[in-house]
Symmetry: D2
Subunit: 350 residues, 4 copies
């Protein structure tokens, strides 16, 4: 941390800053120059950083207080240099294989999900997605089948033989969702739902954490830090688009540079969701290929047996033929990116 | 809703659009021109709007589907033309009086809150704020005193004789928080925590809903719509700043134009939080005066008996003397805005 | 400037950083701690800051390079502690008086501008605005009367006896515009049109610089720095709204907290444009009052004798009666803000 | 265009709207429903759209006026269905070949540019970039060699046998820059420098237009429309990143979904600049591969013979070995994307 003083700061001001630093058991280092700056060379404990910064900021004579280290720790690559591989229902995420999670936005019925799961698996995807509890902007939109949806998901997962992922929206439902699916999903709107993060952290269940549509990288990794700090090492990060400049053409702006940024600063697997990232089915293929090319560990995409009948997000769901075409293009490209994506690879691995 | 066709759309494409509209019990209206547009003159039921738009968007020959009506209903002024006045613990919010809610970011101890409450009341504020459950970006930051904090709040509220507000973060805590304070607060990070909105809606308890830092006005009013649609008419809206261009000088960008926008389109009271809106104590006074001048119904500000010892948000908390000075300036200005803000007015009203 | 090293940085990495700092004639200060940080205590010359930061960033072992001082100098209050008062055509901007600049978006004809000028003056505004060169997003929109417009502005200014301001869009037109009006306006889209800033700087003419709709405060003040550094001390800053979250209700988000921020860090006058800041005439009055309450030095607003016939920006132009009502409300409020705004004050000052 | 009336609009209000539409030579179409909407079925002429929308918006009883068609025309794929191929100095942009434009941020000397050009060409790039006029946020940063830089560029281009591109910043310099290089570049900060767009349009010179960091797609294509409408069909679009959520990790947010969006709605070639798009050299390779995978027509990247000595943008410039590695990876990937990128292909085409 570095405290920069104002040009007209007095000696008393400087002493005041040093005193506050010392009160917290830290040692100030004077850096005299055209303006005085006061550094804190030793690492400030994570729980002290924000309150100390705030307290220093309001002292007389202080111009600016700057944090120089990253605020997250367990999620950082400095703390854990090797790539984390998350294992869920027989699938490895974050390893050599490029993992595709696919399925409908909402679970609508046993028939719909079963049909989706078969399409998904037949094309080489290894995780089935589908929402039972749906976060919907309007109270008048379809809210999901709730527990009935989870039961359908569990049954279809078993019958088709595919790993499953579904969203959990409140802390009191973590246990229930965890009993029915292989991977918990925490949605973008819940990225800073801290009671939920704490429960999902305690559960230890593999958890896919989506980035909030407004969230800086630091806040995203601090949300992951909640999961890790509460005992869950099985965390996957999912970039799903941030608030766009305007919504005339896409629902969000997919931030693909987050892939190399997250890969550099964190050891956690990085998944990309181009369906929410664009909100438009016809842009999903090119963004999926771009995510693979940029080094993502996998994708989460919306596929519906018949988008024309979908109860939610019809505009961003791929129909079966488009999904097949995209998977084929991904396979071809994976060959030149050093990623494995051959069909049937999963069953052979188990 | 209006569907604009592509220049090269065929008759079959146009018939396809009309068929989907008719399947939903609605009547299409052809608007031939250089390109064909197809309108739906009757009001589309709220629960049909989004799925229908999405389904039409993916039909062959369709260029663009535009919603022409606002997506919220119970929150709209068209539905309820009179200003809503919310009554909580003897205070009226949304009426003639400009209401100031003030207090510390976090409840830290009985002594701290009692002291804050006395300062707050002595300067003419009529609601005491203070957090027991704190949403903190980092898991290493102070997380609040939880239920112990609520008990302190309840006791101090009674002793000092002041209305109280505190944040609730998860649906299973709505009942508990509602038993201890007069007003539930739903924080910016929880604006789209739908299970929480539903519980707060069912509770009927006066609820202050903060705008998410990324939330368009429509999404904000739809979150209020959740509360209203689940049976709670006692909803207050709180503008608290949106994601800024950069954070070099302020934590957020306070969107004061949201005041006249919300006042025009909704009947709900509008509160402004300049403490989070700027994140900097020295900017709070000018933004508070601006909020009053722009027509807000009240303020929520952070005041701490001694910001230098605060456990959270020290940089944005007003010390007692600054708070007194600000309240005095607000009173002077309220005279020319037609708002009542004389001291002691509250007790006389009860 | 502070260079933070990675946890695994070697001694050679640290020496490498020190060597680059020394090559630039500066002295490094080692700050050993859990990670090594290297400070540069003396002030880095302004022209060295960015290239030095960039060079340090790419050295091996470097985690992050942070600037600790503000990048602008002549525009800063540390450099020039007194408020700057700009004098233009008999009007003082930045002094005790709250200055209103008003007039049509575009100059459309002598009759239109004359009529506007009379309305503007009669209601106590002291500067007439009007565009001759119009920056229009579409090439098909009305582009302004160009030099003919400037001639009309000059004539009307003289006849009505009012100070004038008009936009200049390219460096080769600075001289021409400066000959016809009292104040040059540099529009939001031109905030980083550096050749234009340099010419306007050399001209010494009073210049109103609008903030780009995407511009952080530092970039805004650096644009002002261009004007100042090229010899023009007569600079006024104008907040006119930044890119909004969505455009459903307002064209921009008026950042009123920029007023106290700019007042704290710079000595230049601060003007607010609520017409572009909202894009909606009915929100202009409340935002104007808010700007006055927040401490702005003046306003720039669009007024049209008959908005229904306006060739541009009809939706944000105030009709005469609304303008009169707003001016009256501003006068009433100015009394409690310590600002002078009595009618006729200007003529008595000359 | 569709005008939606308020719920309480009167017959007189409705007649007023129809009258204004008819005054403009258009025919209104009544769409009665729960609220009345009034459509304008025929295409509104491009120059009428904005003023008519604004005028209708302020009429009594009007709730909302919505444009239903896109505001650009010559840039649209509906107007020109075939992909445009721009030819400049023997290079085709927008055709089968994936074109790489590379070189230093600034032209610093003959030796530096010559060395850069040789590296660039040897690795299979076919266009040399380099700035002579540099738009710099701070007046204290290196501003470029100006005309001397252009002369160096022209000489190096001839000697090395490579197509050249350089930025022009003001309308009066269009002719000079056009005489020295093969392609004009209009920078992000100049995207709405309309006098510059008009001159570049009149010149007919191949022009690379960069997207403003705040610009919605419609505004970007309208800027291209300026060039096209003033007679220049040789326009290339360049995505270079939009304003980011925060600048902690990247300078901008590269919006790669703009590639399929622009390809769908426009016929113009799309180039991606990952150097400015991220601002960090180590992220350039992955974003370049992503751009190729997503369907871009080419790249513009910063390469410097020795970034440690660069006078500007050192942190985002690739050193020669990284550039060679990236070009090799692009070639390998191009094989599976159906793009040609074999070395030497250009010379054989001439």
């Amino acid at each position: 941390m570095v405290v920069v003083m104002k040009a007209d700061a007095t000696d008393a001001d400087i002493n005041g800053v040093c005193a506050v630093i010392e009160e917290h058991g830290l040692e100030p280092l004077l850096m005299p120059g055209n303006v005085m700056a006061i550094g804190i060379p030793s690492e400030v404990p994570t729980d002290l950083r924000e309150p100390l910064q705030q307290k220093l900021q309001i002292l007389p004579g202080v111009s600016k207080v700057t944090q120089v280290s990253r605020p997250f720790k367990l999620a950082s690559r400095e703390f854990h240099s090797q790539d984390t591989i998350v294992r869920a229902g027989g699938v490895e995420i974050g390893g050599e294989r490029f993992v595709v999670m696919a399925g409908p936005c909402s679970i609508e019925s046993y028939e719909q999900l079963k049909s989706a799961a078969e399409i998904v698996k037949a094309n080489g995807a290894t995780v089935l997605r589908g929402g039972a509890f749906k976060p919907r902007t309007s109270p008048y939109s379809f809210q999901g089948l709730a527990i009935e949806g989870l039961r359908i998901m569990q049954q279809v997962g078993k019958e088709v033989g595919i790993t499953t992922v579904s969203e959990v929206m409140s802390p009191d439902m973590v246990e229930t969702v965890a009993e029915h699916v292989d991977i918990l999903q925490i949605g973008a709107r819940s990225m800073q739902n801290f009671p939920l993060l704490i429960e999902a952290g305690k559960s230890g269940k593999p958890t896919l954490l989506k980035r909030g549509m407004w969230a800086p990288i630091d806040d995203f990794l601090l949300a992951a830090e909640y999961l890790l700090a509460h005992g869950n090492p099985n965390v996957m990060l999912c970039e799903r688009g941030v608030t766009p400049l305007d919504k005339s053409y896409t629902r969000n702006t997919l931030d693909l540079a987050a892939i190399p940024v997250l890969k550099e600063h964190s050891h956690l697997p990085v998944i990309v969701d181009p369906s929410h990232g664009t909100g438009v089915a016809k842009y999903v293929k090119s963004m999926s290929l771009a995510a693979l090319a940029a080094g993502a560990d996998g994708l989460m995409v919306e596929v519906h047996p018949d988008p024309r009948t979908a109860l939610s997000d019809a505009a961003q769901a791929l129909p079966p033929d488009s999904f097949a075409e995209m998977m084929s293009a991904l396979r071809e490209m994976s060959a030149v990116t050093g990623r494995s994506m051959t069909m049937g690879a999963r069953s052979s691995r188990i």
